[in-house]
Symmetry: C2
Subunit: 255 residues, 2 copies
């Protein structure tokens, strides 16, 4: 399983992905699910992926490969993030067309999703979600984030905390809490986490961190969040209408 999340805020972009990949219970391994394409002062592009690993890797490799040949339209010379998302969707379709039939013969799921975001000189920051069919949508003001993979456990905290005005440091804190909730509930999402922060219009990779089990900050967030939740729960009032049942239990004869 996979969990990836990206936020598009006024202050900048935050990307985070886990590294756990399982191709069957006895083939659990770590693979980077984040790729960055950076030409300082010109463009910063970050791609995260979920789904069939051979499909997602090949689609991104195709994108990268074509970037080496300047005779065709590629991620280094297109003028907009919209075109970057187009190129990625096309690469995904191409790989699925090439491999899909063979995977289907063994009932292997060939689906894959991408989050792609960043900024190109002359354009604002943009963030896209590419579906398994190669079509895509763009994040707007109302929903300034995308998730792929195991999305549900980590969604509530994002919905409660994030809006376009959230500062980058709060956004990173929120993303880590979101990962903590996801990893607690789904063991197939796991550390290390790849984290990237991008300052609006900096046109460079401002901050990158590989968060492993030894990361003191992540451990602290995880522990204090857990203690905090339990504290809030304990402080909630008991239902008055249940007082009778608790009493009756105290005096009831047990089997």
């Amino acid at each position: 399983m996979t969990y990836c999340v990206a936020l598009k805020l006024n202050a900048g972009l935050v990307f985070a992905s886990d590294s756990r990949t399982n191709a069957g219970v006895d083939q659990i391994a770590c693979f980077k699910k984040m790729r960055t394409f950076v030409n300082p002062d010109d463009r910063v592009i970050v791609i995260m992926s979920s789904g069939n690993l051979s499909i997602t890797q090949n689609a991104i490799n195709l994108l990268e490969q074509r970037g080496r040949h300047f005779d065709q339209r590629n991620i280094w010379d297109v003028d907009s993030m919209f075109e970057v998302a187009q190129l990625l969707g096309e690469a995904l379709r191409e790989v699925r067309q090439h491999d899909g039939v063979f995977l289907a013969q063994n009932n292997v799921d060939a689906s894959a999703n991408f989050i792609v975001g960043g900024q190109l000189r002359g354009e604002a920051m943009r963030l896209f979600l590419v579906y398994a069919e190669g079509n895509f949508i763009e994040a707007g003001e109302e929903t300034p984030y995308f998730q792929i993979g195991e999305t549900k456990y980590g969604k509530p905290i994002i919905d409660r905390v994030i809006n376009s005005d959230t500062p980058l440091s709060d956004a990173v804190k929120c993303v880590l809490v979101s990962f903590d909730s996801t990893m607690r509930s789904n063991l197939s999402v796991g550390l290390p986490i790849d984290l990237v922060c991008y300052n609006r219009s900096s046109l460079k990779l401002d901050f990158q961190r590989h968060i492993t089990q030894d990361d003191a900050y992540f451990s602290q967030i995880s522990r204090r969040w857990s203690e905090g939740l339990k504290g809030v729960f304990a402080s909630l009032p008991n239902p008055e209408w249940l007082r009778d049942i608790d009493m009756s239990h105290r005096f009831s004869a047990d089997s």
Copy 2:
């Protein structure tokens, strides 16, 4: 969509189900998803359902219908909750066999799940999860709860708080927080909530409540949980290693 959860604790059983049913976006309605079968001093049986409404209703109606004819094995005369789960699984298979082909012709999903729990005189309390295929599993010490329907959003708080020793009042509080999280993240799960509490070995329906939008306690829990979470989040330390990026952003030239 549906959300149902049942807990089996040393103190007793807690059951809760929502009431939202959607058969297409313009057919949203309320249906009770909980049925109780009580013969005081002899047996208390609670059944909750998710999935295709005609399938789940018909399966339970079949069970109820057969309970009126004492010439065949039925829920009122079997000796164990295991047999109750068997009867329910068989009723589900029968209804799916009867209607499934016709639903499949229109690509209608005929799947359904049940949680069934309670206590029969001479036996301990028991709790079962009946799968769409009619087979079932029983809750044990390690996992003292079952969920069906939209299970993910409401699972983390249960995992953090509930164990077999949890008192009924805390369990009810936890179940309501679990519903609050689910309803916030999935609009197709909605009030009212049907809540049932059963004291171990009482062999009667100890407590029943229909929680609507006007329920002062539920509103209070919902509001204080939300405020509490935001408070805990705000109290978490900021990542020190991000101080530079926040600074750099403050001084960066914006597009």
